[in-house]
Symmetry: C2
Subunit: 190 residues, 2 copies
């Protein structure tokens, strides 16, 4: 359509890398990525130093969207407990999707098994961002040990997302919010 | 050594498939597997229909060892609570190993993203075996809702093993047993 702005080859590659690596795994081939993006391999290597660099950039680009999806829509009026629970309500909703394959950042770390890979660095950053937000909410909500509570919440988030993504758990009955409420109560959260 | 029994090509392939797929991921190449096993590709295809079938068989073969590692050494004298906690003590010890990459069965499911793959079927069976044992212990220990408790324990097990394997969590300070004790208490376990 003449009125829409053209998507650049770089953005098409980043989108293809994020979509296909999430659906098929990080071992998805360069040919498949270039074909999906409608970009030649030659052009790809002019834009990115390597497939690894492209994968890392594609994950990095999606971090703001990932964080926005888990952020309470009315953060000012919500309590810290409500803002934490919202993350798990969103997880429960996302996991019901047939195309759900778990947290993309944890999946990349599990698949790559290489802490030095540039995509692993991005993924660790995304998970550390989650930990920092949980710690901040836990502190605001008066948790006795915000650091401990944040780590427990991430055990639940990553356990639930990995298990639901792997097809060995279903979250619709509220498993995750039930368990999180229990942890919030035990931590003395308001 | 003349006195040791010779390991068959089949067993060498199964061992290589289990070791290398755990270390490097399920996309490890057939060449690398055959080289590590000291078996020709031709021989491999006489023994297994496909790499997928070999991977599934290698995971299946290790299930009894996986289960034995998590089984309390003195099950008769231990209480159900102690037998559950033992699983998480073993997880904590295993996760301290530099070569730890998480639960091999969850990792295979996360990596393959294909419920129809023969290795996914084996992996789901191993995870369902864990769920069944947790449910049985929860029932014996008087948990109000053994099914719920078993599912919560698996969120912790898989969340902790995936996060420790991915290098974004460390378990040595007792994070997992602290959290599991909290869940056992909340469930009314003796």
């Amino acid at each position: 359509m003449a009125s829409t702005e053209k998507v650049s080859p770089r953005d098409r590659l980043l989108d293809a890398a994020a979509r296909l690596s999430y659906r098929d795994g990080v071992s998805v081939g360069i040919e498949a990525l270039c074909r999906a993006a409608g970009v030649s391999k030659r052009s790809m290597y002019q834009l990115f130093d390597s497939k690894d660099a492209m994968l890392a950039a594609s994950l990095e680009q999606r971090v703001p969207r990932f964080e926005a999806q888990l952020a309470h829509p009315d953060p000012e009026s919500a309590t810290p407990r409500e803002r934490i629970l919202y993350v798990f309500e969103r997880l429960t909703a996302a996991a019901a999707d047939a195309d759900y394959h778990g947290c993309p950042y944890l999946a990349v770390l599990v698949e790559l098994k290489d802490p030095e890979h540039p995509a692993s660095t991005v993924a660790r950053g995304a998970k550390e961002g989650m930990a920092a937000r949980f710690r901040a909410e836990a502190a605001k909500g008066g948790a006795r040990d915000p650091e401990l509570l944040a780590r427990q919440l991430l055990l639940i988030f990553d356990g639930a997302s990995a298990r639901a993504g792997a097809g060995v758990e279903r979250l619709e009955d509220g498993l995750v919010t039930t368990t999180v409420n229990l942890l919030l109560d035990a931590a003395g959260m308001a």
